[in-house]
């Protein structure tokens, strides 16, 4: 497509303003966190203090966004209360949510006290029961899902990549099992993890980091599409 027939992109004032603000905030934060030695020390100090303030502001905005997210969750489940049986689950969710908040508020206010010294035991017990227990059970369930996934992979069409994947998987699993005191498998597993797997991981991580740098530079030069759509 020639330059004359290419559709011209409309420049919107709002988008340009947003891009300019984002770029200046990003540049100031970068200069503050990674001072340039050629700049005067006073300017570096000012930029550093300003970038610290910007990072704090971003953290508080993130916290407010999280607060809004929980409010949205509450609003959604409050609207579900009239439906059956979904409303029952929503009721349970809201009861747990407000239960946690009320117990913590009562504990901090000194009204509710089941404590050992300074430790607030009741809210920690709720955390252990409702969050840690279910979270660890879900992580345990993952074992069955992973094994089922590996079995399904074996049933599908066999390719060289599937075979490599499964060979590495089996070597790692058998390498950790005490099979008659064999030393060869653990040695192969050690080599596999420290040479090819480590190289592959390094390649993937460098690729991800390069991707982050490219996206960051696109934002810095105003080529990112975040504000254009």
């Amino acid at each position: 497509m020639s330059a004359s027939t290419r559709p011209r992109r409309r420049l919107r004032l709002g988008a340009a303003l947003l891009a300019a603000l984002t770029i200046s905030i990003a540049v100031v934060t970068l200069l503050g966190l990674e001072p340039v030695p050629t700049l005067p020390p006073e300017l570096n100090q000012t930029l550093s203090a300003f970038s610290q303030l910007l990072v704090q502001l971003a953290a508080v905005i993130g916290a407010i966004a999280l607060f809004l997210g929980v409010l949205n969750l509450t609003r959604f489940h409050a609207a579900q209360l009239r439906k059956f049986p979904r409303g029952l689950y929503s009721l349970l969710l809201l009861l747990t949510l407000f239960g946690v908040l009320i117990v913590r508020a009562l504990e901090r206010g000194g009204v509710l006290r089941v404590s050992e010294g300074e430790t607030l035991t009741l809210s920690l017990t709720i955390l252990d029961v409702a969050q840690v227990a279910v979270e660890s059970a879900l992580a345990g369930l993952l074992f069955f899902a992973l094994v089922y996934g590996a079995v399904r992979l074996m049933r599908r069409r066999v390719t060289i990549w599937n075979a490599l994947f499964l060979t590495a998987l089996v070597i790692v699993l058998l390498g950790f099992s005490p099979l008659g005191g064999a030393t060869l498998l653990p040695e192969i597993r050690e080599w596999l993890l420290s040479v090819p797997v480590s190289a592959g991981t390094r390649g993937l991580l460098i690729g991800v980091a390069l991707g982050v740098v490219v996206v960051g530079v696109r934002v810095l030069i105003g080529r990112d599409r975040t504000f254009r759509e």
């Binding site: 990003a26 970068l30 074992f143 069955f144």
Partner: protein, 218 residues
């Protein structure tokens, strides 16, 4: 109520919720949904508490509620709340543009932090590591490591040639090195999958020992 009684109630309730979660092995059912909804409610509650106690209240104490009164500090203290309020408009159709202003600061700071983190925290150390593993006493392993890292990077190269027929093909050397990289990726993912299975097995045995065996009195 004594702390010991509370602990006993906690252990039994935790074990019951663990059983409810494991009931998913029989298929999606109401016991599993009860456990998941309790989990989501508790997680949201604790996240909200952590946000309030660790970020919002200290920020307000240091700026808006701090003595003596200063207009500049008050303005800075209220600024993130103004940006946060703008985020609410992201959910509306007509005023969603206003919500973009709430994102400006987060996007700008996030870009700077991500760039610094990627360069200082990932790229430089990993490139240094790749160069260091290539030692004379460990030449073969170093060579395999170097080939692995480079070929994985080449595998994600999308530069190609457009032929006269319109078909896009990669250069032959790039395609060949990419195939080696694909092999390294398959081995890496397979080994990672194996390690993940072992981690999940460890967690499962821990859950069985800590929650379920206590419930059945073993």
């Amino acid at each position: 109520m004594t702390p010991e009684t509370l602990e006993q109630i906690g252990v039994i309730a935790g074990a019951v919720l663990t059983l409810f979660t494991f009931s998913y092995l029989l298929g999606d059912n109401f016991l599993y949904r009860i456990a998941i909804h309790v989990f989501i409610g508790a997680a949201a509650g604790f996240v909200l508490l952590a946000t309030l106690e660790s970020v919002l209240i200290p920020w307000l104490s240091a700026t808006v509620l701090s003595e003596p009164f200063e207009l500049l500090r008050l303005g800075i203290g209220l600024l993130p709340f103004l940006f946060g309020l703008l985020l609410v408009y992201k959910g509306t159709t007509r005023l969603s543009r206003l919500g973009d202003f709430g994102l400006v600061l987060v996007l700008g700071v996030g870009t700077a932090l991500a760039l610094l983190g990627a360069v200082n925290g990932t790229l430089l150390p990993l490139v240094g590591n790749t160069a260091r593993i290539f030692r004379p006493e460990n030449a073969i392993n170093g060579f395999i490591g170097l080939i692995g890292t480079l070929s994985v990077l080449v595998y994600f190269t999308y530069v190609g040639l457009r032929r006269l027929s319109g078909e896009v093909t990669q250069f032959l050397p790039v395609r060949f090195i990419g195939l080696i990289g694909q092999g390294f990726i398959a081995v890496t993912l397979g080994a990672t999958y194996g390690l993940l299975i072992l981690s999940a097995l460890t967690v499962l045995s821990g859950v069985l020992a800590d929650r379920i065996f206590i419930l059945i009195g073993r």
